[in-house]
Symmetry: C2
Subunit: 405 residues, 2 copies
């Protein structure tokens, strides 16, 4: 077997993620390794924690990276917080809500689900009603569900969960950095993310943050086998069913004790650190506003191109826009031509939206005017040749108008 040197084709990734990485992140990831206990390495770890406190808008000491993709972060939180039989309430409004349900079930939890049609979100009253009926240990909900483009408002949920004795977990993989998220102000006990959306990085590292309340539950589950509880100490709770995702151990690795757990994924840490540096240099609020401005321009352009928007626009994420695929147009053919002739990727959809909705991402490094206008110009050409009615120049004109240009 021989294979050529890596040489990916030029692409402009305007789908729901992963998106084109910021070249600064890729350069950071090409830095040489240092040892796991080199002061430079532990320094980078501490800086990464502090940077992500800024990204998550939290003062949580327990802010760190799980070494895996975004769903590794979800599973680490669930398997560390949930004992078999624990009740979890999962309000599902898209595919990633179903993933939360599945991961909680794999952990042996008793999972209760309420559902909303894709493209809509829950009212706080709907969630409170379920909280009072189910009385769960954990309320687990996606913030922005890329499968439907909409984001569940979270600002009231922390207080509601606390009122009913539950912890609040949220998956902010798709939203973080491009939409307002205030972990502490909103009373979030656990949040997990990935790098490959608005953070402009590469999948493979999951930034997470945990409140002191969540940490206390996890610490009570320290196991003797792992050497982090002493023989004879009372067993306060069932041991965590995973070694790799045992946040009690991982907290002792990232914390002042620096107890060895895994060999840190150093290159991914370099990348995650750079993602957070870029975001904080810009300022989190400025980054959110940038996503809003470019998402709005893309939206205006898609509408002017003749496409109908999918989902409740009042709660749409800044960074992903769903459009109904016009009648008579081959859904995959248009995407394939856009890729083959223009090097631009937009997204298909899952489940009930498959073949009916395209998803266009405007996020991270690609939340830029040139990326928006180029995508609209190319899409107009491809749609015209596919037989759709398109007014020449309408999409880019509308986007430029949205920018005030």
């Amino acid at each position: 077997m021989t294979a050529n040197q890596i040489d990916p084709p030029a692409r402009l990734l305007m789908g729901p993620g992963p998106i084109t990485a910021d070249p600064r992140v890729l350069r950071a990831m090409s830095a040489q390794l240092v040892g796991q206990y080199d002061p430079a390495m532990t320094g980078y770890m501490a800086e990464t924690q502090e940077l992500f406190r800024g990204v998550f808008q939290t003062r949580n000491a327990a802010t760190l990276l799980v070494d895996g993709t975004a769903r590794a972060g979800i599973e680490a939180v669930f398997v560390s917080l949930l004992e078999p039989g624990d009740k979890v309430l999962v309000p599902v409004f898209g595919r990633f809500g179903s993933l939360l349900r599945e991961i909680a079930e794999r952990c042996g939890a008793e999972v209760h689900v309420i559902e909303r049609e894709w493209g809509t979100v829950f009212t706080p009253a709907e969630i409170e009603k379920a909280l009072s009926t189910v009385k769960p240990k954990l309320l687990a909900i996606v913030h922005g569900d890329t499968s439907t483009t909409v984001a569940q408002p979270l600002d009231e949920l922390g207080a509601l969960a606390a009122k009913h004795g539950a912890l609040l977990y949220t998956d902010v993989t798709a939203s973080l950095g491009g939409n307002t998220f205030l972990a502490d102000a909103w009373g979030v006990d656990a949040a997990t993310a990935g790098l490959q959306k608005c953070l402009a990085g590469s999948s493979g590292s999951s930034p997470i943050t945990l409140s002191d309340r969540a940490v206390a539950i996890i610490e009570a589950r320290k196991s003797v086998e792992a050497g982090i509880r002493t023989e004879g100490d009372p067993v306060l709770a069932a041991p965590i069913r995973s070694n790799y995702f045992d946040l009690a151990q991982i907290l002792d690795y990232w914390g002042p004790k620096r107890l060895n757990h895994h060999t840190e994924a150093t290159t991914m840490l370099y990348g995650a650190r750079e993602c957070a540096r870029i975001l904080l240099e810009e300022g989190v609020e400025n980054a959110v506003e940038r996503h809003r401005v470019h998402g709005a321009a893309m939206t205006a352009g898609l509408v002017a191109t003749g496409l109908k928007l999918f989902g409740d626009q009042s709660v749409r994420m800044n960074n992903v826009i769903g459009v109904h695929i016009p009648d008579g147009v081959d859904p995959d053919g248009v995407r394939a031509t856009l890729m083959a002739d223009y090097g631009i990727e937009i997204g298909t959809s899952f489940g009930p939206l498959h073949g009916k909705v395209w998803r266009v991402g405007v996020m991270g490094y690609n939340a830029r005017k040139d990326a928006v206008l180029t995508t609209l110009a190319a899409l107009e050409q491809v749609l015209r040749r596919a037989g759709a009615k398109v007014a020449a120049g309408a999409g880019t004109d509308a986007a430029l108008e949205s920018y005030g240009l």
Copy 2:
């Protein structure tokens, strides 16, 4: 919070790993991303599988990457193969054997352990005796245990396991690429690795390979929830307790069905692919021989420097050498000075060897003459100043002699 651009200090990492990455791997990891279903990406995935078949010396279709560090690969195999209550036999001869035990216990398995003193390995007869008593579903053993520097001979274990109705799993993280490993010829059913040792890469991706027999067990555990078993199909076995490590799903993601699971850690895949390319360009046997030659030179040099070797040298891994710390020398002080004054890292030890044994790695990109000689020259200076008796130039002279120079 502000943090500076990443700028790691220059280090020569001559410990038990991670070691200095091959710059080719870091360059590959700086390549731009493509979409998850871009033909370029699925092509890279297929190439990576074929390259690692070469590295593992196997024809197993199920050869792929788990997105996490080396222990992510271990846990993926265990949680996918083992149902609660399944019997596992773990022969432990070092720290990473204890890790196998712990991970199997977390999976709910009934774990039986036999132990050997650190620095020694088992005879096939000892393992067969335990196999016949325990009658496990899985025999799980580390190949090279970096904590002790020795490698368990595996060539007879596949046949023994099969004779007693067990599968054979082995952790080759520390050995692969630097020591002979023949997955098919030795009858190995499952093996997992990492990139940060002899493969000259960065921690964060775990190459694994599974025999058809292992795959059949995993496929029988497909769950309805995950959408990979149809409602009404008979449940053949307990569902897998993890989503992230569900190899039934991950196999369908890497296989011809290309069912979406996680968002692949693209940058880590680029790195893993380059690690395997480099190894196969050199030739696996040549790479093993290179590790043998440079490991032997380092060993000769350390002995001539006056240090006593630790562990059974007849089964020592080519790539890690343990030496007793001379009396009257501050173990951490020597390592700290070697780092501070020469930028060279060597390893401390765990458990019973802590403070008694240093571990010196000669692996991957650093299995090179200049790295060996530089380390010996620097160590001589630091030991002399620390008050140890050292014959001037003896270490490098012996290494050069070992090279035939």
